[in-house]
Structure formats: structure tokens, C-alpha cells
């Protein structure tokens, strides 16, 4: 009896496995009828870390939509670990090379670990471009991402508006994180050039973390109550800063500028605890990452800068940066653009 049960269990799991495998292989075959015969199928892969996060789901949404605009013979896939794990991304790259995909867009959990697998793909004739987090030392063809200097400049612009040309600013960032350092410097340089009345009086390390951001802000505001604006250079810290301001009851004196737009930022802005946020555009990044990748995979007669690949914007493509003020939220378009991305699994 028990032997029978075990046999059944075995049989069922085997069936499960193989149906899973064979079903998925034919996942996209339903719309094949419309496929034009002369165009062979092409497959482009997007490699991410933190797979399933809002941000990368928006980038992949852009990637998919751009692929659709080329034609139904273009297939895409999203691979990568759910953790921040560059080694696991390298594993995925290795397999994609073996699978001989037509192009790879990759964002690196750290800038160095993926260098050798990116180079390997390029050497194998597979076009690779970076998006979002760059891997500048690799042979990747280009980067589609965010210009962090203008990101900082945008923040400076808004800070200037908020304080009416005269005020003290504190900036929270993570030393050693190149992107955040760029945002910090962009802010400072812009102020030095254009807004002499806006003065950066503190640059603090909040370790990219809510709790640490709260602690840092607490001690900052206690020692220096004259601060007018706090700019948090990444997406998570704003909640901690807002909490510190709230508990010191200094909401009327201090304006918080956040980065990125997520559910937490949305709530804080609606509550009036965050005055503005600076946003880049993941959908744009995904969309243009695909278009570049497709171009790289289809060289034309005109000589390109990266033979044997097609022409790409080798200087990089940067997405627009915009400042969102609390009053912009009213009509809901911002929320539609940045919250609740389509999900992929």
C-alpha cells in the first residue's frame, strides 16, 4: 500500500516537472499564426538582480513594449536572482551565452563581478549593453541609465525653489557609492554655479537605510536647527528622515527632498512630510535598452563603432530626470507612471 503511494508521488512529481518544462517551451506560440514567415525568431534577455522589485519590473515592462514595437518574432525573457547577488547573475550570463541568445541587457549588482562574463559574451559575438547600474570596466557596448549628475542638479533646482534662493541644505548619501556621490556633487556644483544663496552645510552617511537615516537626521537637527532642506540621495532613506523631522516637530521649518517614487514616497508626500522627490524613469531605461540592443544585434552596411555589432549610442543614453512636487500628485498620473508595475515571473 505504502509502496503504491510512494510510486504515485514519484509519478506525479515527474509529470509535474515535465509538463512544466514542455509547457513553458511553447509559452508564446499562441500568436504564432500572425508571425511573418521570413523573420526568424529572436530572443533577448534582460539580466537583473533583485528580480521582482518594482523598479526592475518597470524596466522590463519597457523592454517588452519596445520588443513588441519591432514585431512578434521578437521574444524576451527576464532572468536573475531575487537577491542582490552578482555571482548568481554571472551564472545566468554563463547559461545565456551557452543558450546563444541574440542580445543581453544587464544591470550589475556590483560593477566588477560581472566583468568577465560580459566580456565572454561579447567575445562570443553576443551584444551586451548595461542598463541602470553600469559595469564600466567591461566591454559592454553602452549604458542606458540615469545621469546622476543631472539628478543632483535637479535636486538643487528644487531646493532653490523651496528656500527662495536663500537657505542651508544637508545631504544624506553613502560614501563609496559612485552613483550617490555623483548626485551629491551635481547638487553642490549646481549650487556653487547658479544658487550662491543655497549652502550645503552637512554631508552625512546614512548607509542607505531607514533606521540609520532617522538617527543621522535626529542628531543633525538637534545640533543645527537652522537646516532648511534635507536631500536624501537614494530611495529608502526619506522615510527615516521624515520620521526624525516629525518627532522633533520641525515639519514647518524643514523640507525633505526624496529620491525615486515608490509607495512609501507617495504616502509621505500625501502626508506633506516630503516636499518633493527626484525621479528617473525605469520604463524609459528598459525601452531604450531594448532598442539599442536590437540595433547592436542588427548591423547595417554603414560601419559601426563596435564591429561586428551594429550601431549603438556608445556615449550612453540617459533617461529624463524630473522633480515631482507634492501638488503634482493630485491628478494621479504620477502614481500611474511609477507605482504598481506589471508583474513578471
Amino acid at each position: 500500500m505504502s509502496k503504491l503511494k510512494k510510486g504515485m508521488a514519484l509519478f506525479i512529481s515527474l509529470i509535474m516537472l515535465f509538463t512544466l518544462i514542455s509547457c513553458s517551451g511553447k509559452k508564446d506560440d499562441s500568436d504564432d499564426a500572425a508571425k511573418t514567415e521570413e523573420k526568424p525568431e529572436e530572443l533577448y534577455s534582460m539580466v537583473v538582480f533583485s528580480k521582482g522589485s518594482e523598479y526592475f519590473n518597470w524596466t522590463y515592462a519597457g523592454f517588452v513594449d519596445a520588443a513588441k514595437s519591432i514585431g512578434s518574432h521578437i521574444k524576451t525573457e527576464l532572468v536573475g536572482p531575487p537577491e542582490v547577488d552578482a555571482a548568481a547573475e554571472a551564472k545566468a550570463m554563463e547559461q545565456l551565452i551557452a543558450k546563444d541568445v541574440d542580445g543581453i541587457a544587464v544591470t550589475s549588482a556590483d560593477s566588477a563581478t560581472l566583468v568577465s562574463s560580459i566580456n565572454k559574451a561579447i567575445d562570443d559575438g553576443i551584444p551586451v549593453i548595461s542598463f541602470d547600474v553600469d559595469s564600466p570596466d567591461s566591454k559592454r557596448l553602452t549604458l542606458v541609465g540615469t545621469d546622476n549628475v543631472s539628478f543632483g542638479e535637479k535636486a538643487a533646482e528644487i531646493a532653490n525653489e523651496l528656500v527662495d534662493g536663500e537657505g542651508q541644505v544637508a545631504i544624506l548619501y553613502v560614501p563609496g557609492n559612485v552613483d550617490l556621490e555623483k548626485r551629491l556633487n551635481g547638487f553642490k556644483d549646481k549650487c556653487a554655479e547658479e544658487y550662491p544663496g543655497v549652502e550645503v552645510v552637512a554631508e552625512l552617511n546614512h548607509e542607505g537605510e531607514v533606521v540609520q537615516a532617522e538617527k543621522v537626521t535626529m542628531s543633525l537637527l538637534q545640533s543645527n536647527p537652522d537646516i532648511d532642506v534635507i536631500f536624501v540621495t537614494e530611495g529608502l532613506g526619506a522615510a527615516g528622515v521624515a520620521a526624525a523631522v516629525r518627532s522633533l516637530d520641525m515639519g514647518d521649518n524643514v523640507d525633505v527632498i526624496a529620491s525615486d517614487f515608490n509607495t512609501a514616497t507617495n504616502d509621505l508626500m500625501e502626508a506633506g512630510e516630503v516636499a518633493a522627490t527626484i525621479v528617473d524613469d525605469p520604463y524609459f531605461i528598459g525601452y531604450y535598452a531594448f532598442l539599442n540592443l536590437h540595433a547592436a544585434a542588427h548591423p547595417t552596411d554603414r560601419p559601426s563603432d563596435n564591429p561586428p555589432f551594429g550601431y549603438v549610442v556608445s556615449t550612453g543614453i540617459y533617461c529624463p530626470i524630473s522633480g515631482v512636487m507634492a501638488e503634482d500628485l493630485a491628478d494621479g498620473t504620477i502614481a500611474d507612471k511609477y507605482l504598481n508595475p506589471p508583474s513578471f515571473d
Binding site: 515535465f18 514542455s22 525573457e77 545566468a92 554563463e94
Partner: protein, 340 residues
Amino acid sequence: MRSKQENNKKLFLLNKLKSLDVQNYVLIVLMILLIVSISFVNPKFLRLRSFEAMINNYTLEGIMALGMTLVIISGGIDLSIAGIMPFSAIIYAYLIKAEINIYISMLIVLIIALFLGFINNFLRSLLKVHPFVVTLAMQLTLKGLNLVITDSQVITDFPENFTKLSNVKILGLSIPILVLIVLVIFYGVMLSQNRYFRYVYFVGSNPRAAELSGINTRRYFRFIYMQSGLLAGIAGIIACFIFNSAHASYGTGIETRVITIVAAGGASMIRGGIGNIRGTVLGLIFISMVYSSFIMSGISTYYQDVVTGLLLILAVVFSEKFREINIKTNIFKKREEENV
């Protein structure tokens, strides 16, 4: 007398056949099914290239699985490898960046790794707790330490003599693969031929009896955990070879994958004394093939762990069941003899 000898011969042949564990057969069958079904979906799966990718992807796991095989045969477990491996990679990266000779740096890292293995066993025997707890604590401590010393930043820009070495290929094989092959052969030969290595079967199946037979089990367990630490150290250095950089996240989930490989290879978690390198190698190929088949067939890797888990249970249930049946038939035989 004659018939007895013939009988012995038969028994011997039967044993030879049985020596390839049931679980190994199960794995081979599953692998064939996997290969057939995946290559049906994506014919590129059959290229040499994809096999190479499989091995490339599981070099680190493969190296550590060898040490884990011994640990598991001895009836223990070593979770600390997920901490020791990235720790070694980071220390090695710092050493070579400090312009210390790359070979001397290796030696230093390996000594540290051995020492960490020593500490594992020391705490295990001192506190008399299950190695699960001690090695888990070691893993957490080192993972934390890795973040502290690197500030979660990647260490890169290795000196040129190292990057040159990391690009060396012998017979078309990269250094990581060569190291894996050499270690597999070494462990395979030692565990089947070397007397000291083979004691692990005694220690694992009956530590008290092993002690009474003149094996210093205290020293032996020290050896077991130290060699596991050493292999994690080697894997750490190899990680630097593969990535040309070092990062605290390198060990993420690696202990689970290593244990899965060893368990899939037929080493028994339920009682010690069972397992071998051949099984572990099969387990390695199997697990990396499962991973590869996901990307090859384009199924979301979210399902990967689900399927790996199911397959593992399947393989284990199968082999434990068969072992039981084996034992039962032996008893049965005994009863039959009696009745004759």
C-alpha cells in the same frame, strides 16, 4: 564446497552491481529524461558549450561539495562554508591588492580557512552540540564580518600578475575547472584507496566502534571539519579567479546548493557512513543540469528551487526505500536459510 564458491562469485557480482547506488541510477535516469525533454524544447542544450557552462557555473559548489561529502559521511554537516568561502575571497583580494605575492597570499588564506574549520570542530566538541548549530553560527559571524570589512563594496582592480594568471588556460581548460578536476580525482582516489580517508565510513557509521578499533575519533573529526574549511578557502580563491573581484554576497545560498548536491549524490543525512565521491560528482552534474535546463527552456527561475526540492526528495525517498528493501531481503534470506 564448490557450489559455495560459485555462490560467492555470484554474490560478489551482485555486490559490484549494487555498489553503484540505487540513487545514482535514479539520478542518471532523471538526467537522461531532463536532457531529452530540454533538448526537445531547445536543441542548443545538446551543444558542448552548454555542458561547459554547467560546469563553469558550479565550480565553487563542486569544490566545496567534495569536503561536504566527507562531513556528511561522518554524520555531520558544515554550513559555515557559505561564510568561509566569501571571507577567503575577500581576504585574498585584500592581500593581493596589498601587493603581497599571489602564491603567499593563497597560503595565508588557506591557513586561515583551515583554522576556521578547526574552530568549527573545536566548538562542536567543546559545546557538544550538533554541528548544525556551530557551523551556522560560524556562517552568520563570517557573513556579518564580510559586510563589515568590505562595507558591502566590491573589491576589484586586482594586480596585473593575478589577472594574467586568471586568464591562463591549460589544454583549453581554465584554472578553476582544472582545480575542480584535480580535487575530484584526488578526493575520489583518496576516499576509495586511502586508509585514513576511508576511516570516515567507520567514524560515520559507528563512532564508538571506530574509537574502539583504534581510530582517534577526536582527531578524525578535526580532520573532517578542517578539510571542509580548507576546500571552502580554495573555493574562495577560485571565486577571485572567476570574477576577478570579491564581494560579500558571493556565498549567498551556496551551502544549500552544496548540501543538495551531496544529498542528491546519495550521501545519507539520516545516518552516517553512506556516500561517495562518484555520487557527489553525479549530484553536481545533476543539480547544475537542472539549473541550466531552466534557463535553456526559458522557464522562470522562480520554479527552479521548487523543482530542485521535489527532485531531491524524490531521489532520497527512492534510495532510502531501496536500502530498506535491501535490508529486508537480507533478513528474509536469513529466515529462508533457517527453514531449509
